[in-house]
């Protein structure tokens, strides 16, 4: 369970201060998939980075299972699985070594690492490439490796930044099923995306973000109703008030 209250974050740019995140609040309960939907540059990644403790909110706070991400960062990190925007897989290590490295950094013993890896390899269908060095991996293989790495310590909360970015249709479908099993296991799943269909298909709760602000939130059905549009894409355009940065 992740609670986000009134987050603010600004960056210094040459042109002056940029309000990347400007008062974002939402709640992501366990056993649900919460989606942050917004155009490129809306502040999704910055928001997620504050959730997974790499950035300090200037205002507001984030509670992960009731623990504050700033004052209790170590504890929060233990209960979080993170897939960052850049996957950051080590290319000279095999997929298995990549996963094991993070398992050890989470303090798991070798037997647990092995057992968890075996489970994830099966769930993510990584049998073909698990013992290959990741140099030359396809985007899908890299993403799967990074997801397995993020979940090796069996976290109750999972944060995924654009998980289906750059994946082909089949891999995307497989990944969606996997995310649904995470939800079925009772985990809190938060993902970001700029693709309507994806969020519409997968998420129980959708938070629409544009220019650092929450424009609307609710289920796909609720969003369609508030905007008075039948189709989610139109609803989205209406809610953010422009069609910049959209990709179908």
């Amino acid at each position: 369970m992740i609670q986000v209250e009134n987050l603010h974050k600004t960056f210094k740019a040459r042109t002056g201060l940029v309000r990347a995140v400007d008062g974002v609040s939402f709640e992501a309960p366990d056993g649900r998939i919460t989606g942050l939907l917004g155009p490129n540059g809306a502040g999704k990644t910055t928001t997620l980075r504050m959730l997974y403790t790499l950035m300090r909110p200037e205002q507001g706070r984030v509670l992960v299972d009731g623990h504050d991400v700033v004052s209790d960062a170590g504890r929060v990190r233990r209960s979080l699985g993170v897939l960052p925007d850049a996957r950051g897989v080590y290319k000279r290590l095999t997929a298995r070594e990549n996963i094991a490295y993070f398992g050890r950094l989470h303090g798991l013993d070798e037997a647990t690492v092995e057992q968890r890896t075996a489970q994830l390899v099966e769930a993510l269908q990584m049998e073909d490439f698990i013992d290959r060095q990741t140099e030359g991996f396809s985007q899908g293989q890299r993403t799967k490796t990074a997801i397995a790495r993020a979940l090796v310590h069996d976290p109750s909360n999972v944060i995924l930044d654009e998980p289906t970015n750059g994946l082909d249709v089949m891999t995307t479908r497989g990944l969606r099923e996997f995310l649904k099993t995470l939800k079925a296991q009772g985990r809190c799943v938060i993902l970001s995306s700029h693709i309507m269909q994806e969020v519409g298909l997968l998420c129980d709760h959708i938070v629409i973000i544009a220019k650092g602000k929450v424009m609307a939130q609710g289920s796909a059905e609720q969003l369609r109703r508030t905007s008075g549009e039948d189709n989610l894409e139109d609803a989205f355009v209406r809610l953010i008030g422009s069609d910049e940065g959209l990709a179908a």
């Binding site: 925007d85 290590l93 050890r104 303090g107 790495r149």
Partner: protein, 390 residues
């Protein structure tokens, strides 16, 4: 502690998988340095030998005024040749190393048994004219002594009366120390290898990892950032020490096989090598932590690398200062980075004993500085910007 070990193992595995970079990093210096040193040594020696032992051709202007002197020079393996038209220009244009000028009044002074002037023309700013000039001057001095002794004998005076004091020289330097002089550039090579030997590895595992954006997931794990950083530093130190070990072994082998030359008999026992390794260990730590600090504070690998040219000059500074104003070994020197290494390495190569107190100051100062840099680097590792790139 477990994290440090985990990170170190991973970084080393990652590095050793990159075969070509590893080979270059580990083997280049051990192969290149001995070749460089032995080659230079052999060249210097053969040059000195040819200059000392070969027949020296010296143009003498006015040779006809001093036939006796010319005959004497020939016995000293100096061949008198015809002078150029303008001796001064000839020297300036470096056509000759040294030219003797016998003035017009030489025969007159000679006959009257007065000191007769002979001028040695040379260019003191030219390194390679040093030996020829010395040879000519020593021949002139010997000739002068011989002739004056004969003049005294002819007049019935004991030539020994002309000498009130005889100065004798006794060189008390140990043979090892004399050879050590030829090695004054060796500390620089060793210090530089220790200081920057693992540089690209260090830059790669902090600035490079940040640029490849794999630092973000790494820092999102519950492992302490100090521990992650220490693991990286430890990996670079292991690599640095390994490459130093190979360099020292290559020195040992090449000095042993060198046989003759200025490097014969340099102390290359295993004990001396172990001492050198102990001396260089703090340098490896200082270099690694300093580069980690730099890598953590810059935006890109490129920016980190641009510090390298300045860093490469650092180890030269004490050597240059000592060259300009040589000072005796003093205890405080063992606390100054680079200078301390320089002094300690020379002492070991000259087979002198480094006192326990000196060791204490040396290791204390070196490891202390390493710790200080570690603390600053650890602070930088906590910056928000470090984890986020792009």
């Amino acid at each position: 502690m477990k994290t440090v070990w985990t990170v170190m193992r991973k970084e080393l595995l990652d590095f050793f998988r990159d075969r070509r970079t590893m080979m270059l990093g580990l083997l280049m210096a051990p192969l290149l340095f001995p070749a460089l040193i032995l080659g230079m040594g052999a060249m210097a020696e053969s040059r000195a030998r040819t200059q000392l032992e070969s027949t020296l051709e010296v143009p003498v202007s006015g040779a006809e005024r001093a036939p006796n002197l010319v005959a004497y020079l020939e016995t000293r393996n100096i061949e008198v040749i015809d002078p150029p038209e303008d001796p001064h220009t000839a020297i300036r244009e470096q056509r000759y190393d040294v030219i003797l000028d016998i003035p017009v009044d030489y025969p007159e002074s000679w006959r009257q048994s007065r000191p007769a002037l002979v001028e040695v023309l040379y260019d003191s700013s030219r390194q390679d004219s040093r030996i020829p000039v010395r040879r000519v001057e020593s021949a002139l001095r010997a000739y002068s002594r011989q002739v004056s002794a004969m003049r005294l004998v002819v007049r019935g005076v004991d030539p020994a009366l002309g000498q009130a004091v005889v100065s004798g020289r006794r060189d008390l330097s140990t043979p090892e120390a004399r050879r050590g002089m030829a090695l004054s550039f060796l500390p620089y090579l060793l210090i530089l290898s220790a200081f920057l030997g693992g540089a690209y590895l260090v830059i790669d595992i902090t600035a490079g990892e940040r640029e490849r954006q794999s630092l973000e997931p790494l820092l999102a794990t519950p492992s302490a950032r100090e521990a992650i950083m220490s693991g990286k530093i430890a990996a670079a130190c292991v690599f640095g020490m390994l490459s130093l070990l190979l360099i020292l072994l290559s020195f040992k082998l090449s000095f042993q096989f060198a046989g003759s030359g200025p490097f014969r008999g340099v102390d290359v026992s295993f004990a001396a090598m172990a001492k050198l390794l102990a001396i260089l260990a703090p340098m490896v730590l200082i270099g690694t932590t300093l580069l980690t600090l730099i890598s953590a504070s810059v935006k890109s690998v490129k920016e980190a690398q641009s510090y390298m040219s300045v860093l490469m000059l650092l180890p030269i500074i004490p050597t240059v200062i000592l060259l300009i104003s040589p000072v005796k070994n003093q205890l405080w020197m063992f606390a100054v980075p680079f200078l301390a290494q320089n002094q300690a390495i020379l002492m070991v190569l000259r087979a002198e004993t480094v006192e326990p107190l000196e060791w204490l100051v040396y290791l204390g100062a070196g490891l202390g500085l390493g710790l200080l840099l570690w603390l600053v680097a650890a602070r930088l590792y906590h910056r928000e910007k470090l984890a986020i790139s792009g």
